[in-house]
Symmetry: C2
Subunit: 142 residues, 2 copies
């Protein structure tokens, strides 16, 4: 698919504060106050679906997703990790990597569901999120 014919948000913008990047993808911090530590892994070239990528490219992208998952488990100590490639609004391959906590605003529902509670974020959770970039670079290199 020709990206000049299908401009999309993630073709023209990084989609968040860039924590790490290589030729394949960017890891960005999603500024979602309810979910500190929420990251996205965004493919740099335009493609709509994982099966539009060659198998080696899928594996390379998922390898970054797994490093982000490991980094979030170590840094945020969540109760669960949620991974999702949706793209209904922005049909450009990107992965949501979300650390989830039993007391977060939506748990155990997905973050896209109606909130279950007010879900005030403990200050130490936001503090931990500040360490993600360094922990990611320690694993992936600068």
């Amino acid at each position: 698919m020709n990206s000049t014919l299908t401009p999309c948000e993630f073709c023209s913008t990084p989609g968040g504060a860039v924590l790490w990047q290589n030729d394949l993808c960017r890891v960005v911090r999603v500024d979602e106050p309810d979910d500190p530590g929420f990251c996205r892994v965004i493919l740099r070239r335009h493609a709509r679906e994982m099966t539009d990528l060659a198998p080696a490219e899928r594996d390379a992208l998922m390898a970054v997703v797994y490093v982000v998952e490991e980094t979030l488990r170590e840094t945020m100590r969540p109760d669960k990790i949620n991974l999702a490639s949706l793209g209904n609004m922005t049909p450009h391959v990107h992965w949501h990597v979300v650390p989830r906590f039993g007391d977060d605003r939506h748990f155990p529902a997905p973050i896209w569901a109606a909130p279950r509670r007010e879900g005030a974020v403990p200050p130490e959770r936001s503090e931990r999120a500040a360490g993600i970039a360094a922990a990611l670079i320690a694993r992936l290199g600068p």
Copy 2:
């Protein structure tokens, strides 16, 4: 993690009508009237997170997820595919593979969000879903 200490729904039940299985995982049909074609790929052994699996096991599981995605693209001809590994309610590794349509009940929101419309499913969409099992076996073998 010892599954006898952490019994979960997907340790004890297939989690849907089994369309295909091997030693690693099961592909099941999710009976969700709003989303014909919705499948799950469920790891057979108990594990909570993708990064609890060895890299080769992750890749083997995702290879099945991608075959399901390809099968759904061919069979259902959706506007988008959604992939998600959440597991907040059932913390046992499983992937949701959901064919999405611009006129479905939640589009462009995730299927877990509040419905956007009544979203009556066209009969031909349900008919196509009946062909998924055969299309999957044609790709993966019996």
